[in-house]
């Protein structure tokens, strides 16, 4: 009896599974001249969307927050799901893979199937501008070219010195999320954003992403603090400061801290245009930094 049960346990699911299998018809192949884009990067997905080409995206990154969820996920930062990718039948694969080794199979497959594989660099504001223009060129679309030019102009306008910003921002500590220990260092696009608006990053040395504790922050003694926390409630900025709220910081005591809650505030993309505007508006609402009393020494 046991043996019969065991055999049934193995045979039944196998039968059901085989019976349930469909002989699928392949997805419609890309028509000549049709552009089918896989955006294997959340940042590039935002740029493609802002270029007006969202309708041509057939595959997205697992961490994507901007595209329609019905678009299949074809990979993430740790690897590519080649079966989903092949089913998407792309003509263009756009990614920013950074210093990591490009997936070996991806390059081979792209060559075999004549997919245009484009790996962009997205580390700085200049990279974002250059990539926006490059994507429009690579996709060879006149409307996208026009939008890219307009976006580049918006970037130039948004990422430029704003009157009154320097006086209110000073040396700004840029923090990420509700965890106050992750901060933007020199060379990061967040630090560049603050510098382009007229301020300065309080973290002048180290890597683009640095880890600080409350004592480090006290020693830095920033003039202001910005917390980039996508989706957070700006009215609860003091809560997001955590232990820094009680660290007797000049920035906190003078009320020169704010949350930048833009959904894509951590994504190096065209979203940084709106992020710059949100940042500028937040900083310009602060009181100007009081000059030190005469006769005192500043560090």
């Amino acid at each position: 009896m046991r043996r019969i049960l065991l055999a049934a346990l193995v045979a039944l699911p196998t039968f059901l599974m085989l019976a349930g299998c469909k002989d699928q018809a392949p997805s419609p192949a890309a028509q000549p001249g049709e552009t089918r884009i896989v955006a294997l990067s959340p940042a590039i997905a935002l740029i493609v969307r802002d270029l007006g080409l969202e309708g041509r995206i057939v595959g997205r990154h697992a961490f994507d927050l901007a595209l329609d969820k019905s678009i299949p996920v074809v990979g993430d930062q740790s690897g590519v799901d080649y079966e989903s990718l092949a089913r998407a039948q792309p003509t263009h694969i756009l990614l920013d893979w950074g210093s990591r080794e490009l997936p070996p199979r991806l390059a081979t497959l792209a060559a075999e199937r004549s997919w245009a594989l484009r790996d962009y660099t997205m580390l700085s504001l200049a990279d974002i501008r250059e990539t926006t223009l490059a994507i429009a060129e690579d996709l060879d679309d006149d409307n996208a070219r026009a939008r890219a030019a307009a976006l580049a102009q918006s970037m130039d306008d948004a990422w430029s010195a704003q009157p009154g910003f320097r006086e209110r921002c000073g040396r700004c500590l840029i923090l990420f999320g509700a965890d106050s220990t992750g901060a933007a260092g020199p060379g990061s696009f967040h630090a560049q954003l603050i510098e382009s608006l007229g301020g300065a990053s309080a973290v002048a040395e180290g890597a683009p992403f640095v880890t600080l504790d409350a004592e480090d922050v006290r020693r830095l003694d920033p003039d202001s603090i910005l917390i980039f926390a996508p989706g957070a409630d700006p009215a609860r900025a003091a809560d997001l400061l955590g232990p820094l709220a009680h660290a007797q910081l000049r920035a906190v005591e003078a009320g020169r801290f704010a949350v930048i809650a833009h959904t894509h505030g951590l994504t190096p993309s065209t979203a940084m245009i709106d992020v710059a505007r949100e940042t500028s508006a937040a900083v310009l609402a602060w009181p100007p930094i009081a000059p030190p009393p005469s006769g005192t020494l500043t560090p």
Binding site: Q24, G79, V80, S99
Partner: protein
Amino acid sequence: MNRRETLVLAALAALVVAAVALRLAASPDGLAWPLDEFERNLRALRIVCALTVGAALAASGVMLQALLRNPLAEPAVLGLTTGAGLGVVISIYIAYTTTGAIILYAPPALPALVGALGALAVVGALGQRRGLIDPVSLILVGVVLSLICGAGIVFVQHLLPDRGVAMATRWVTGAISDETPWSRVAMVGGATTLAIALGMFFGRALDAASLSDDEARSVGVPLGLLRAALFIGSGALTAGAVLIAGPIGFVGLVAPHAVRRLAGPRHRSLMLSSALLGGALIVLADAGVRLIDLGAGRMPIGVLTAILGGPAFLWLLRRERLQP
């Protein structure tokens, strides 16, 4: 093999066939046969990877349980998988510092072997009390070592420019990559087959070694040689599995225990049946992560095996009357 062992072996072979068929039919759109040769090859690669990893981990579990005379011994619990993973990420970091590129897809094999054997040596040395392996101490040392190696992996990640985000899925959680080169699968698969065959060949010696030292020696088992072979064999099997899929837990525990309950403790059949069951479990887990669509891409296999294997470990722990 007696009749019972043969029947269990046949049933497990059938389970492997069913698991392979299920995985072959698991597509991004539900159950559907591969559309073309490309998809067939891709699914075949993942099936062979999963069979190899599962068989290697299960066989390693059988060897460790015989070597340490501890029913709770398995590669993940003793820190071997994280030890091998630490070896791999250190080699990735060294490659990054010398070449500037983060090589993720086919890291060198030797660091994984060194990591696994190093972890086993530490666990073996510190898990003794008055010269004898103490089951509780062994597990505690293994858990602590696993935590230390896990912290080491996170430390290496911290030093990488992307904070190791790209390597996290595979080397911390455990996942099968579509990028795995066939040459690597062939190397690990060949070594696994050889190790399982040797394990079966020495099955009677393993049966005797599972008793006391005196009893094993009385029937002429060369204990020193056997232990050295089990030490290297279990380390090599774990290193091979980690090279393909990173640290995947609990298969080395669940498979041998299930087979023991079904077919008895004789190592000749235990080794082969456990390998079959381990392979089937990982193939089924891979089918699961393909079919479970949460809208965020494929889940790492290691998550699924830990969710299912963790409770099994706790049940065994309770059964063995060992309090954590």
